[in-house]
Amino acid sequence: MTELHEHHTAPARTGIRRLTGPGWLRVLWVTPIFFGIGVGLPVLIRWLAHWHPVWKGSVILTVELVTVPLGFLVGIGGFDYWAHYASGRPTVEDDHSSHGAKSWRDYFRVNTDHKVIGIQYVVTTIIFFCIGGLLAMLFRAELAQPGDQYFNPQTFNVLVSNHAALMIFLFVIPAFAGLGNYVIPLMLGAADMAFPRLNALSFWLLPMAGLMLVAGMVTPGGGPSAGWTCYAPLCSHQPLGQVFFNMGVQWAGASSIMTALNFLVTIITMRAPGMTFWRMPLLVWANFTTSLLVVIATPFIAGSQFFVMFDRVLHTHFFEPGGGGYVLGYQHIFWFYSHPAVYIMMLPGFGIISEVIAVMSRKPVFGYRLMALSLMAILVLGFSVWAHHMFVAGMAGWLRVPMMVTSMVIAVPTGIKIFSWLATMWEGRIHFTTPMLFALGFLSMFVIGGLSGIYLASVPIDIHASDTYFIVAHIHYVLFGGSVFTIFAGIYYWFPKMTGRMYDERLGKLHFWLTFIGFNLTFFPMHYIGLQGMPRRVADYAGRFADINLFISIASFGLGASTLVFLYNMAKSWKHGEPAGGNPWRALTLEWQVSSPPPIFNFDEIPQVVGHPYEYGVPGAKHAIFGAPKPEPVGTD
């Protein structure tokens, strides 16, 4: 890894090679072949086995949703190198022709450069963020008045289910994976991720998963309408579109497991000389713990969706009460992933906030080690609280109090982080740039979301509030006021690094204030209607909630509109922004010590890490030096 690579451009392909070489042209003919396999295989088996009907839609669709994405990935070249290797042909020296982007076209290819992949991730996830947001505005239009206006209950439920599924699986989780992808190797002083090809593959799974969820909505016969939680047995008896949901979640989950493995190996083995664990920036720590959560927990949601699929397609009875299935088993497995998932959706944000607050306050992160340790505490405790989503579900009664206690205790490490951020700002020189505003917005909103979480951890209060709009308010304070604000903070903070240009600060601030105000007007009143008695996931509701719902709907349209300011700012600044220079924030971490955007293999010279990453205000302190005498290798290399 120490020698530096040459970067080649692929020789232009001509003639038949344009069709056989990896790329969109190959997608065009390989995908139909896999589509044919997806139809042929189940039909053949059913025909040979004399099962009737031979032609069964739900079975064929399920198989299709495995084969078609595979066909796409084969076509675009996701497996080329491995296939070549596995076929036993002589290894070709990688010419790095698929590394780095020369033009915008390279973003539509399988690219192994973590910086390209990072941007691919961020842009893709923002597209799904916009789709998810539009769905929310559609059902808010329906909710502006009681009774049925625009959508029947089926469509309404599809909108609600897909809004959540897209925001969770296609926006928050992968947006963090994208930012991490871009930043982590740079912060570690590495040339790339440990497994660049796996990295490329894990990105390309994502648009597949997203398209699947979107396609599910418009499936003839009806989309998935059992909520994003998709509880059995309701979800086993949904229209055909449900299959898209079951499989889409699998692909998104596979993508996130691959990325997490990649992060873990990269963080463990590819740190620059001198970068000990206790010298890693907190963003790296945060992604380290998140990745552990992902690899341990994500297989559980895969399991839950597989079992549902089996119940549907193979007529098993995992969750079918009639056949001796265990209905609550679904919820246990589902939440064993989906509670840790809230930390998967939060810890990387914690990392971003630590970076932003330290740099913008010009102070070291307060209690760095405790900050890292509290992440680890959340990781461990995070696996012991899942059943707080099931206090009214009818599970074993004794399980409630222990789950309440662990859920309460997890507030302690979270509190440590909040107090430490506040202490980091104390006596600082705070610059209220857009990332810092989003960090402060996050801090205040996340405190509210955390406190409403305490209410919900208390079993008696949860019994009153669960499945009401109070829950909707809580999760949006945590996932919007929390995660989404941190994603915005991260995007603004690293925008100059990614594009080499500065975003428009005035538009950034406008975006922040519109979002912050729109957010609170939309979600704060939901606490009230929830406690008063409005259940979630209903298209129609009691007349006494009419005025306040109208208010919420109007506010939500404002909130949605604020995103336009963001999109405009990003598009405009990417093209015409002021050149940003290597280190516009005067930050110490390694990603800012190289040009913006960084050289193709990140560091023309391997940095030697000599100190902590946040030594602001310490005279003469350095995180890393370049051009040091060649160091003894540290760790594996």
Binding site: P153, G227, W426, P460, I463
Partner: protein, 335 residues
């Protein structure tokens, strides 16, 4: 120097904290966050709620004060390139802000656990009401074997609901009673309610259970215990009426439909069954056939202005003899 700054800043901090605490307290007190409780359990839940709120206001005020202070005091001018004080941590402070929240959440946990235990206590002779949830209706069955689509409970007595579901998961909740419990197919769950106030309150399903979920509403009427006993003895008033009325009551039709002849049947989710004659005429069907089809195959004809929300399996679950009685009864009462 540092000392002086600190003393001044502590006063200012306390000032900010006080302002934040007053504002949040006003928001907590002036907005009627919770419905007026109608059961002992609800009152206890409200106690936990207020206990938690007091603690949360304290925490919120502290955070808000430090944040406001920092934002005002430590703002740097854009051209200020200096760095802040290189403070790396403060062990004592870190111990304090680990310990205090730990104590606070422990306190909330203890209070919650006690209330949970109290709220699960049925007493020695609870009134047991069997609750069966189906898409999209409730059926409440009393010890005397009578069933209704709505719940009638005696004030001041322990009631134990024994819940189950026939198809998918539903959840029983009445905001005024606070207690909530999922009804799970293939399993029995229970819920304790001790009504403390007479009146009629909504019952809603809070677990997404399909297309009619939003309409899976009923109500609970709480009456004085003495009145309840006569009501029970009278077999819930239906015993005196024609046999079809009993079938009507047993199957919870009144939760969704209005029918003057049937006491308590004042639902509005389905059409008014007193107007069946006109409705049958509109569907161009003879009255009896129309009624029978409407019960057995509700989706075959949808009354204009209503949704296809009548439980499709309800009709099949009624024995043939009883179904005939029911159809006759509705036919009679419509004439």
């Amino acid at each position: 120097m540092l000392r002086r700054v600190r003393r001044g800043s502590i006063f200012q901090l306390l000032g900010f904290a006080a302002i934040a605490a007053v504002i949040t307290s006003l928001v907590a007190v002036l907005v009627p966050w919770l419905p007026n409780p109608a059961s002992d359990e609800a009152k206890r839940i409200h106690f936990v709620y207020w206990f938690t709120t007091v603690i949360c206001i304290g925490v919120f005020a502290a955070v808000a004060a430090v944040m406001t202070y920092s934002v005002i005091k430590f703002r740097a001018r854009p051209d200020d390139d200096s760095d802040g004080a290189p403070i790396h941590g403060h062990t004592k402070l870190e111990i304090i802000w680990t310990a205090i929240p730990a104590v606070l959440v422990t306190a909330i946990s203890i209070v919650s656990a006690i209330v949970l235990a109290q709220n699960s206590r049925t007493g020695s002779h609870p009134l047991v009401v069997k609750v069966v949830a189906v898409q999209f209706a409730w059926k409440f069955t009393y010890p005397n074997g009578k069933s209704y689509g709505y719940l009638t409970l005696p004030k001041g007595r322990h009631v134990k609901l024994d819940l189950t579901a026939n198809d998918v998961i539903h959840s029983f909740w009445s905001p005024e009673l606070s207690q909530k419990q999922d009804a799970v197919p293939g399993q029995h769950t229970s819920l304790v309610i001790t009504p403390s106030r007479t009146g009629t309150f909504p019952v809603i399903c809070t677990e997404l259970c399909g297309l009619g979920h939003a309409l899976m509403r009923s109500h609970v009427t709480i009456i004085p215990a003495a009145k309840f006993d006569t009501w029970m003895k009278a077999g819930g008033q239906a015993a005196s009426g024609p046999p079809g009325l009993a079938v009507f009551q047993e199957n919870g039709c009144g939760g969704c439909h209005t029918l003057k002849a049937a006491p308590g049947a004042n639902g509005t989710i389905g059409p008014d069954l007193d107007k069946l004659k006109q409705e049958a005429a509109r569907a161009h069907q003879p009255l009896a056939a129309f009624i029978k089809e409407s019960i057995l195959k509700p989706s075959a004809y949808i009354e204009p202005g209503y949704r296809d929300a009548m439980p499709p399996t309800l009709g099949a679950s009624i024995p043939a003899g009883k179904l005939t009685q029911l159809v006759q009864y509705l036919e009679q009462s419509a004439k």
